[in-house]
Amino acid sequence: MFATAAKRLRSGRRVLRGSAAVLALVIIWELTARLGIVDSFLIPPPSTVVAHLFTLAGPSALPAYALWTHIGWSVLRLIAGVALGCVVGVPLGLAMGSNRLISLTFRPLLTLLLAVPSLALAPILILMIGLNNWVPIVIIAIETAVIMAYNAESGSSSIPKNMRWAMASLGAGKLGIFLRVVLPASLPSLVTALKLSVGYGWRALIAVESLAATAYGLGFMIFDAQNYMDTETIFAGIISIAIVGFTLERAVFGSIEKRINAWYAIAAREK
């Protein structure tokens, strides 16, 4: 009773202090820009940036509703890449987890791929498939596939042997053990990997869009604005990237992760 009340007070104070800090920062930024301490052309005040954000999102932007088109393309590329990566990475990882030879074969290749910065792959892909939407999608897919494979392997190889034995002694075939033991037991690590992939993919996407996007995408938007010294659009773009990234990583995939973990009661045991 008291504990929950104290907890609520704590989280209330936390929100209050957090927003106070954000508000203070915004006011300082606004004042320094307005009073001319920093050049308001180079660093526009937040009020201007937010107003510009609304203009970009509205019908009077050029082209109309431009911001939403940029966000839409970026999210579409991200989701397509992550989906493609999962299709390749999850089966590979599960196979690695259940077979030593496959694991020994692919582990070095994955380690090497992981060490290559994603943007370094962009020139190769552009040479191979041309300058189009597939470049960012394939780069995100590679990154996702590596992360998913690693986690699917560690998730499925950490299943206690007696669980498999128990199923086998009850007469389950290989498929039965896979569907009833391996897949459910590695689900938490798969979901965590999915969240990580979205986070990493989002980071990679912004960089790749500067190089390999020709028309739309949030990354394209800010680097295109840089060419025109359009600082208002740059800051509006940064705010959008942070908000969309936060929403995807924490709100969408983070809550899925939390729900799955709660189902497994892993969160309670590890905390």
Binding site: G18, Y150, N151, I159, G245
Partner: protein, 284 residues
Amino acid sequence: MSIVRTSSIAKRSAERVPASSPPSSGTKRLRAALLFAAPLIIASAIWEALVRIGVLDDRLTPAPTAIFARLFTLAGPDGNYLLWTNLGTSAARVLPALVIAAVLGTIIGVALGLSRKANDYLSAVLGFLLPLPAVAWTPVFVVSIGRGYNTMVIVLVLGAVFPILYNVMSGVQGITERHIWALQSLGGRRLDVLFKVILPGAWPAILTGLRLGMGHAWRTLVAVELLTSATLGIGALIFTSRSSMDTTTMYAAILAIAGAGLFIDHIFFRTWENRTLGRWGGIS
């Protein structure tokens, strides 16, 4: 590995693996190296064969032998030691950035770990900055301070600081309060507590943070060198050789980046980590 979720189940099952006839560490390491190299060698042999037969276009995907030959040329006097010049230039950007990020990250991380107030105030701001890729800041600094060294270092610091900060924070939070009380009861002052309990106690976490931060900075480097159109640097080498359609050099540069990244992560930091963790195994 930062990307792998380590659950308690995994740890327990890892401990249970029986060490069947422990060989000496030398032969063990050699065996591990061979096992690691074998699939890579086989994969490059297949690649080589495909290029030789003509299935793969050697202008788009040059044969591995050609790439390695180019790598050796670039590393030697015939290539004006270009590989080392570029790697050195990049290192001169990443290392100062890592030092700055380490200092900043440790200070903020210790503050966040020790003080609930600091945590309340700062976590909202940091939570907003965290999902923002460091690369996204590049246009701001390119427009305001130009495409120079400072822009690169600032963006690299932004890339490296968050993993350090969060690891230091959780490391500090994991310190048992009894250790602090013990020192205080012996008459230790606040600075004593900081330098004799908190920093040593959080050291393993700080090291992990440094390793991850270095990894992030190294990955950001390529993007930063591209976006600020640097002329020297191992990332810039990829893009300059691409624009002259010198794909062999491009692949050689990518291989060099991956190799250097692996070296820093697996050899340098892991050895350092193992050494400190081995020495201080009992702490926390």
